[in-house]
Subunit: 504 residues, 2 copies
């Protein structure tokens, strides 16, 4: 305890001693003084004892079961990525600030975690800048690196930087954490993984077709049947805006339309009016609100609305190509659905827009999304590099699988057999058996201490280890193992070969 307090105080004093004018080397005298008088300062002691270690808000520790479940999702996704010909890349956790800043809008810039320059970071700040005491002025002087905010911008940077080594079209996948200084709330974290697959260097619509298949393949592999892959096309949204004479209000218009599910037709119209969209335009939209029937029927209605818009008809043509291909190829468990209200980061997408929703009955936002963007790498000076990609929402998929009880039991299974430790001689014999079992691929452990039998059995129980082996003096002398099934309580005396066979 005293040592703990000493450490704690040392930590505080390192800084405090500067104020007090104490030489750093002399803090020991100060610490000794404090320790001597501790009884007089019960609140200090209280504080120190109460000081429990924690983690920054919005971050998480993952225990073994959680890591296993997350790995199961990631490995399942990876397997499909590879089958579809995507190759993995990894980029650094932090990028030069100039790579990230200005790519996600003002709000995004604010949410990027900046890393303080190492060492004498104030040296680069002029007196004038320092006197401004302005975060906007100071930040770029004292911080030149920032944590990755998503995987798309680093990917674009990667493609441009390594363009001479890359064979296009380039299909890459990337599964890495990203960081955002968002206000943490239920289901929203400051550190979370993104799982992205993108193709750059081809405008072929077969890519979009394959991404629909990829979503289907991944969710089928996860046994998450019945997800809906919603699809739209930015060109259709542009076409509608054109038809109703609101080209300059494309964003206002789609933001309002996007809310149809949540606030209903009337409120959407109200919002459109408030944004200055004409009554005539809104009337023209009427068929949009009542789009019915299957994909084909909806497309026909859209064609009539968009008959006068070249770009709108182009969007419909793209949609039809994808839908026809998918009808021919057939999906395993997902369904493809047209959703004209789907917008998702409109500024970004130029063609197809995707979003995946969980099976009916599961309350959860989208569990995936993506689309086509015609100028991904333009921000870094490489033009004419069309891209299309999708993303999987790992945390939400986790929650859905948990809710529907879809995680296989096998993935969290850890050690299969624990050898009870009756003392050094017996333990040594056990460790020989444990070693051989491991070489046969069986997860086996020896309890390290000759603790009380009950304690060791409890250890097996608490860790859900299904078998224990007991080797006491008797077993040692006759060269056998007593294998106990922890759930049935059954016991068998067996030789090593039989033990191996039973555990395999």
């Amino acid at each position: 305890m005293v040592q703990c307090i000493r450490r704690h105080i040392k930590h505080k004093v390192t800084i405090k001693s500067k104020y007090l004018g104490l030489a750093y080397e002399n803090y020991n005298i100060f610490v000794t003084y404090i320790l001597f008088h501790l009884k007089r300062f019960p609140t200090i002691v209280g504080n120190i004892m109460a000081q429990k270690p924690g983690i920054p808000k919005g971050t998480r520790d993952f225990n073994a079961a959680e890591v296993a479940k997350r790995s199961y999702i990631m490995e399942t996704i990876k397997e499909q990525f590879k089958l579809f010909g995507f190759q993995p890349i990894e980029t650094p956790s932090f990028e030069n600030s100039e790579t990230l800043m200005g790519k996600y809008g003002d709000e995004g810039d604010r949410l990027i975690f900046k890393i303080l320059n190492s060492g004498e970071f104030l040296k680069k700040v002029s007196d004038e800048d320092y006197q401004s005491k302005s975060e906007t002025v100071l930040t770029p002087k004292i911080s030149e690196k920032a944590l990755r905010y998503d995987l798309t911008v680093p990917f674009a940077r990667f493609v441009v930087q390594h363009q001479n080594d890359i064979e296009f079209p380039f299909k890459r996948y990337q599964i890495q954490p990203v960081w955002r200084a968002d206000r943490p709330q239920k289901g929203r974290f400051r550190e979370f993984y993104q799982c992205d697959a993108d193709v750059v260097g081809s405008k072929s619509l077969f890519q979009e077709v394959e991404f629909v298949q990829l979503y289907d393949a991944v969710f089928s592999a996860l046994k998450l049947d019945g997800v809906t892959i919603k699809i739209n096309n930015r060109k259709i949204l542009s076409g509608i805006a054109e038809v109703i004479g609101a080209q300059d209000k494309l964003i206002d218009f789609t933001v309002a339309l996007d809310k149809l599910d949540k606030i209903g037709e009337e409120k959407v119209k109200e919002e459109m009016r408030s944004k200055g969209i004409s009554e005539e335009g809104i009337t023209k939209l009427h068929p949009l609100f009542t789009l019915k029937g299957d994909f084909g029927d909806q497309v026909e209605s859209l064609k009539s609305i968009l008959s006068s818009s070249e770009i709108g008809l182009k969007g419909i043509e793209e949609l039809e190509f994808i839908n026809t291909a998918i009808s021919t190829l057939q999906l395993k468990t997902a369904k493809l659905q047209l959703d004209v209200t789907l917008a998702r980061g409109l500024n970004y997408y130029t063609g197809a827009i995707f979003e995946v929703s969980a099976p009916e009955g599961v309350k959860m936002g989208s569990i995936g999304g993506g689309g086509r963007y015609d100028d991904l790498t333009g921000i870094f000076g490489l033009k004419d590099m069309s891209g299309v990609g999708i993303s999987f929402g790992l945390d939400r998929i986790y929650l859905v699988l948990e809710e529907l009880n879809l995680f296989p039991d096998t993935i969290t299974a850890s050690t299969k057999v624990l050898f009870i430790n009756f003392g050094e001689k017996e333990a040594m014999a056990c460790l020989q058996a444990v070693t051989k079992l491991r070489q046969e691929g069986i997860k086996a452990e020896l309890y390290p201490d000759a603790a009380k039998m009950k304690k060791q059995m409890n250890h097996a129980n608490r860790r859900d280890i299904p078998f224990v082996v007991l080797v006491g003096e008797e077993e040692l002398n006759s060269g056998v193992f007593t294998l106990k099934n922890m759930s049935s309580g059954e016991q068998h005396k067996v030789d090593f070969q039989a033990l191996l066979d039973m555990l395999k």
Copy 2:
């Protein structure tokens, strides 16, 4: 190009306009002015065109082959970790600064990457503190989080924080990146992965025995035969210091001894003299410099040197226990070697000390290390929690496997077959076959565009795809596939079943 310049200038102007007294909204006028006069400022244009995206020094991008090789090492290690009963945990990339600061010495504190607080980070700085213009004063006010520096301190924090949910002894493994603001140099990076396995909550020496086995199992699984697992014991070092009357110079003494391999006996002695170790003491050390023979012989020499030191003899006893156990259990490909000069972060370890060196002939520092520390969690207030653990040096193992050509060819194999695209109709038929192949677990791709045949064949070649399938009009009509082996040039016309069989 113009748009690229516009973006570039926008970025700079956002800040510059503050100086110039321009309203942010008016920067467009300014940009237009600059664009108009661009021809007069050739150096500006030059600068902009030369601006290539890069990554921060000391960080790395990994391409597909590198990711595959790194994954191979990590998966091989993980598999053994699991066989030995270790469970995975993951901790956040950043911790509260107070969790990390003061745990790695002054040099460590300097090398920790600090994260700037979000938003108005100067608000928490008092005028007085601000006027100090001192990094030491400002840092804790403007930064409350820091990137993980290693996996050991976060693990200790994890154990203390979750002590009520953890079943002890707790065997955990953790494979995650860490960050250090070290000066980058060959083989030393600012972001790199650590692979750690530790047990806390048991003092049993069987743990040390198992870690020797674990090293052997991992390197054998990686086919890296002939590594040397060097072992020492802190208690032996303490014993020697005691015997030569240099208890108070334990660190000086071991630092000097640690250099024996590099600088030789005479220089080591010189350094000891300069640190004030007596001539008599140095004479007593003589047998240390000439320890010969196998483990047993060396232990006997040590016993004679340490006969008067209780702690020294305890260290020898521990060494002997481990060596006897390992002799009985036998290692597969590694050898265990006593190295009395081995010290490694002496302040930390209290019992066994491990270090692994690559097979003879490979020039490389240690590829792994670890040891016993009796008070891991004490820094966070949880006492009496002895731990022992080892670590694998991923980057160095990578270099060694590369040098010895030990990466299996299979791990970098990507797509097995590319279907050539002869046009929409043919491509659609191909995509149906591709879909079925993927469902059978074969990595298959369709070239997305109906590009020139030569371009598509080159794509297959450059990506080392071993087979291509050609479906032209003829094949389409007769329902067959022309399968071409890219290395032999052989071609076969086959039906789907035969295609599947040949690719499997």
